[in-house]
Symmetry: C2
Subunit: 302 residues, 2 copies
């Protein structure tokens, strides 16, 4: 439901006061005299995004902040503060709030965030945590999804696939990488991998009006994907291609800038997996011929 509804909303919002970048990127950009403000919100709900009978509530609290930090990294922004809305089941609400906040406070301390506000309700429903993250970026320096250029190198941070084995609860937001990239190169576009490498790359390409030619063998497959493949009936590559919640970054920049990063410590491994091309869609070159690849991943509300 979400994507068609977002398209409707985007249309309806055209008449309102404008933010520089609004609905449809990883975060919004708001103008201020001193720079640009970055704002994003993400919610996780018991039974939809986690299972409270399987996951520690501190992990869940940590994740509710970390997924927003990943969006902030994907915008090239510096996080500053969070506002937290907790919806708590009536039973054991104080214990639950306390455990969730253990993880929220751990993430806040780790990433030097202030807690700027919050709201807490108890109700007849499952635990739901909505976090709004505010941050900043220098004027014109935000990484958007829409800026990729033909010929750009496509890079991915870390390794992908199989995050469901546990990494998805404690994602490492690539904030340090984003800051180092800000200082070293011109990033033309970026997105974080929340719904699967291929699906999020397809979104970046669509936002930029271009396509991608991939060297699929270069895609860094996480050890978790290999472990999972032993019992899942799918290949490690399939997991890397379509598993969600990696929270790694997909980044594009000129090939020259990508080459300049070789052997530099950027705070996270970076692997080039292909180049941006004029032909829309995702492609693989096999024995000189282009083969179309199908993006797969987790589509919200489907």
């Amino acid at each position: 439901m979400e994507h068609s509804f977002l398209a409707y909303l985007r249309g309806r919002c055209r008449k309102l006061s404008q933010v520089t970048i609004g609905i449809g990127d990883d975060a919004a950009i708001l103008e201020s005299v001193s720079g640009q403000q970055v704002a994003c919100v993400d919610q996780i709900i018991d039974g939809v995004d986690f299972l409270s009978d399987q996951h520690s509530l501190a992990d869940v609290g940590y994740k509710s902040v970390a997924i927003n930090l990943s969006d902030m990294a994907a915008m090239g922004g510096k996080p500053l503060s969070i506002l937290v809305t907790l919806s708590l089941p009536k039973q054991n609400s104080t214990r639950i709030a306390g455990e969730v906040y253990e993880g929220i406070l751990e993430a806040a301390a780790e990433f030097h965030l202030s807690i700027a506000g919050g709201d807490i309700s108890t109700y007849d429903g499952p635990l739901a945590i909505s976090v709004t993250l505010l941050g900043c970026v220098e004027h014109g320096q935000a990484f958007l999804r829409s800026g990729a250029m033909q010929g750009d190198a496509i890079l991915v941070s870390g390794a992908v696939g199989g995050s469901i084995r546990g990494r998805h609860l404690r994602p490492v937001p690539r904030l340090e990488l984003a800051q180092r990239l800000q200082q070293s190169v011109v990033v033309t576009s970026a997105i974080d991998i929340s719904d699967g490498l291929s699906l999020d790359l397809d979104r970046l390409c669509a936002a930029s009006g271009l396509g991608a030619e991939l060297d699929t063998e270069k895609i860094p497959i996480h050890e978790d994907a290999r472990t999972l493949a032993k019992s899942s009936g799918r290949t490690p590559f399939q997991h890397a291609w379509s598993d969600g919640e990696d929270f790694e970054l997909l980044i594009t920049m000129s090939q020259k800038h990508a080459d300049s990063l070789a052997d530099q410590n950027m705070g996270a491994p970076l692997t080039q997996i292909g180049n941006i091309v004029g032909r829309t869609g995702l492609w693989q070159r096999q024995q000189g011929k282009l083969k179309r690849l199908s993006p797969q991943g987790y589509i919200h509300g489907s």
Copy 2:
């Protein structure tokens, strides 16, 4: 639960990066070079804060924004943008989202807000809407709860009581009043009446470490309170004293400044209902003697 948990949180947050004003006021104040940013979040849930089988979802959407605008007015801030989290029951989720957004967009258009972002989930639970509102205020010009001074006049906007007859769904955030006050006088403290005049005044007094001596006969009683009293078994005054969701402002300023406002159009009626005194608590002077008044109202989670 909320208030004791907030006290715990306030303690835990002392080690984190600091916002200028954090947990415990109507909104947070964040520093920026050009001024101060104001941020607040408020959530409403079906079955707790509204009843979807009785209230129009457009009204509910409007209210989700308006209650945050009331907090912004209570801080003396200028609202700029909102981020919206919707949790939707699985059945009819698209229709519900559309109807809720009708009201959200109406409020956004009316108050010149941009929609800076959002998140939508469907789940096994009731409709819940969480809105984060971002705005700005000039350095040092925010109205806090804690600044009331002994001798200050206490003023209330509009008239109070009986909002449950319908006004609570379409509250008029006192933004214009707040802006006019910014230009005319020095507001020493302010709070919006969400949980009842007496309870919110008691909070303001507690935050300022002072008390209030009230001329209870001056409290402007809304027509809705009189109507409600005909069948509720309570007096119009009791409704005015303790009904929640008036979303009027309680404001303090020097008596001299209060006197200077007489006959000025401030964008909303303003009535002086008493003065701030050194003795903590709420008091009424009757035949020369002080009688203690008991704050009553809606306490969340009780």
